[in-house]
């Protein structure tokens, strides 16, 4: 059972990576990463110490959110989702595969930028975990928004309030940089995780942030899968809504 599920996730992941490559996502990521590199290498070393973690953090969060919207809505538009829901691929496997495919790109881009712009020591295990946990969280948020949207424009419109609500707590870090309670905001926990890979943080704090984000991602996975089922699988072409009443 688990073996079959893993096989389906692997195949879905291959399909997603292929889809992303063919739709030009890799090229866009490469261009953005190149632009980051260009800017980061031009700024003074002391600013770069702060800028590199921030840029790397923005990759899986903001970009992941944008890309998943584009991906899901392209699949919706081409009708591919309709053909996928009548295969044995489970909704949770679909969601995991989507999240994993974008996380792989985020990790590769993050490692590349970090290697080329940051000369001092980096804890790559923290960095990897930071990028992955951030990517998982924001990509799932992207799936939730995309499930509610019919077009790319609608997705971007719906994304604004979500982004504001999720990103705003990060500004609390300016006056309260050390406040532990801010870790409860996912954006802060994720940002501090990535930042911790470059600037040592206490192991206890990092462990808390990792466990907290892992639990949050687990809960979000259950909710996202449920929403995907409600709005896409049983939403289908017309959903539970009478097409003539739309």
């Amino acid at each position: 059972m688990i073996k079959e599920s893993m096989k389906r996730i692997k195949n879905a992941l291959i399909a997603d990576l292929k889809f992303e490559r063919k739709q030009g996502f890799f090229i866009i990521y490469l261009i953005i990463s190149f632009l980051y590199l260009l800017v980061l290498t031009q700024i003074p070393e002391n600013v770069r110490h702060i800028a590199v973690p921030l840029v790397i953090f923005s990759d899986p969060s903001v970009l992941g959110l944008f890309f998943i919207g584009g991906m899901l809505l392209l699949e919706k538009e081409q009708g591919i989702l309709q053909s996928i829901v009548v295969t044995p691929l489970k909704s949770i496997e679909y969601v995991i595969s989507k999240v994993a495919s974008l996380s792989i790109i985020a990790v590769l881009a993050g490692l590349l930028i970090s290697r080329l712009t940051y000369s001092e020591s980096v804890n790559y295990i923290y960095l990897l975990m930071g990028i992955l946990l951030t990517s998982f969280f924001f990509t799932q948020i992207g799936i939730l928004i995309a499930c509610r949207s019919r077009t790319i424009n609608e997705f971007f419109l719906r994304m604004v309030p979500w982004m504001l609500a999720l990103m705003a707590p990060a500004f609390l870090l300016i006056p309260f940089w050390d406040a532990a309670v801010l870790n409860l905001f996912p954006i802060v926990a994720c940002l501090r995780l990535v930042y911790g890979a470059y600037h040592f943080n206490s192991i206890g704090m990092i462990a808390f942030q990792m466990i907290y984000m892992a639990l949050l991602n687990g809960g979000l996975l259950i909710y996202t899968t449920k929403q995907f089922e409600e709005r896409i699988v049983y939403g289908g072409q017309h959903g539970q809504i009478d097409p003539s009443q739309k």
Binding site: E4, R8, N11, A12, I14, A15, K18, F19, K22, Q23, Q78, G79, I80, L81, Q82, S83, I84, V85, V86, T87, P88, L89, K90, V233, Y234, G236, Q237, Q240, I241, D242, S244, Q245
Partner: protein, 284 residues
Amino acid sequence: MILVEKLDFTYHNGQKEVLSGLDFHIEKGEVFGFLGPSGAGKTTTQRIIIGLLRGYSGKVKILGKERREWKKDFYERIGVAFDFPNLYTKLSASENLKLIGSYYRNQEQNIEELLDHVGLLKDKDKKVEGFSKGMKMRLNFVRSILHNPDLIFLDEPTTGLDPVNAKIIKDKILELKGEGKTIFLTTHNMTVAEQLCDRVGFINDGVLSVIDSPKNLMVTYGNPMVKVSYIEAGKEETMTLSLTEMSGNLEFHRIVDTCDILTIHSQEATLEDVFIQLTGRSLL
């Protein structure tokens, strides 16, 4: 294979029942056609049986189990081709099949052989975005059978196809029937239904009015006539008479004996005629 009893369904935002008391069954190895105009409830019924709509009342037993009790492994046993070709347009034909095929346990079917069956072998490496509607529909059809399912759902399988492509699909459907597959077909094309279906059900406004073989329906509800064209005294004439009167009609015998017959055509009712007679609505 499929047993539906007292099936009712209402959409969340609707007050009116979309399906009302549907009763039918489909035997193994049968091609069953669901005929009705747009909005009659064909696709809704199909989506309930496939498992894409919840909240129905009544019984929908499929492959020996109530639909609600099936999990995702249900899709290992069935194949679905929607009326709209849902394909990865940036991928080639064979890539499309390989990708979707990889989700199934059963991957014994030879992709090239399947593509060859529907005349797409030479286009297997071409991107689908450059395909015509007919090519996409054929690929869409092949995708629904690539895991060798026992039960196949086809929604308007020949829509938008030219006669040559439509024939390719129809022949393949008959071939599948010959292999013992069960096929549930929804269409508003009565010619397709006449040619392919063992039995058809007429649905209109969510109500099934009749289920029978196309032949029986045409005989039962039709009034078969014969039209004779002939030359008499250098002039073309026609005569129409009931099929049952033929043997005893003296005028008909006189014409056959003394005139040059041009054509004799039987004019039995079409499925469309029967549908209009039963529901008061046309199929289109």
